[in-house]
Symmetry: C2
Subunit: 190 residues, 2 copies
């Protein structure tokens, strides 16, 4: 029984994750999530009290997937300074190119959707994720003996976020290439 309950819960979270990713949080309604998960809205509400509760569960899932992605990126990333930067941005370009209707970082998108709600719990989770990513980058840069790795990690974060925004706006991956070149230039600093 417990098992079936867990499976149903997971099915709801997966459907919500899929739909939030596809159409954003605001434009996805609970009816559609229930339909996608193949159950009634009443059943859905016996697992999650509200769309915000469901969002919290989805964000945990987002966070796990994002951590797994960082892990995989890390495994594929060489330790030399130039190779590392190229690999990071190439993997980003590959992700953008291979994902149908790619819309950039799910966390960034959520923050933009909830821009007028700074106290929303999802905002804190997104913030933590970005902080973790920046610290992870600083660790990699330090390992590659880049000077002032914390400051350079911040530069790389700026270029990652900027290139995701401009790639989404223009549908043009040359912004990712430009970001990669700029990052290589910036990590040369003493």
């Amino acid at each position: 029984m417990r098992r079936k309950t867990d499976q149903t819960r997971q099915r709801i979270v997966d459907a919500a994750y899929e739909l939030f990713w596809r159409s954003g949080f605001t434009r996805t309604n609970v009816d559609r999530i229930a339909a996608e998960a193949n159950l009634t809205k009443r059943t859905l509400y016996s697992y999650f009290r509200s769309k915000d509760d469901l969002l919290a569960a989805v964000l945990l899932r987002y966070g796990e997937l994002a951590a797994a992605r960082l892990q995989r990126i890390g495994e594929r990333t060489p330790d030399d300074q130039i190779g590392m930067i190229e690999s990071l941005f190439n993997q980003m370009a590959g992700w953008a190119g291979a994902t149908p209707r790619w819309s950039g970082s799910g966390f960034t998108r959520l923050v933009v959707e909830l821009a007028d709600l700074p106290g929303h719990p999802a905002r804190a989770i997104a913030r933590r994720h970005k902080t973790t990513t920046e610290a992870w980058l600083a660790g990699r840069l330090a390992k590659a003996r880049v000077g002032r790795p914390q400051e350079r990690a911040r530069d790389v974060m700026l270029l990652i976020e900027g290139s995701m925004a401009l790639m989404l706006i223009h549908g043009d991956r040359s912004y990712i290439d430009a970001a990669s070149r700029a990052a290589k230039q910036l990590i040369k600093q003493k």
Copy 2:
């Protein structure tokens, strides 16, 4: 009569602009716009057939305001390379700091909200606006005798978009300062 009609139309656009800015496009409904403009929904629909039509009118207004802002920024921006970059990012920080519930570029936000609708007419307007801004930057950089002004304009755009995203995520203006420093470093290239 024509005059009163124009004024009413303008009042609707202003109310919609205000609300789209505050809560985003998706979460703003037509009832609220009508209430804010102090008229009935029926009257609103005699001016605009749909929320999307209204969005098109609001985007024209966005575009005018954005062009006026670029103009003002230009007037306040010195022509020396370092001073220009510092002035640009300082003005951005001032804008972010002075705007209640600042949520970054309205065009970027709209593109993120409509990430799954690449064919939406609003996306094309946003794209044009960013292209204009990048060309304007390239012109300013060329005037300041920065080498490869087109490529450097792209770098500055990446840092502007990245710092708006991270400023929104973290509520921390030090990302704008970091972007300013990175931009100054990048325009030094031969």
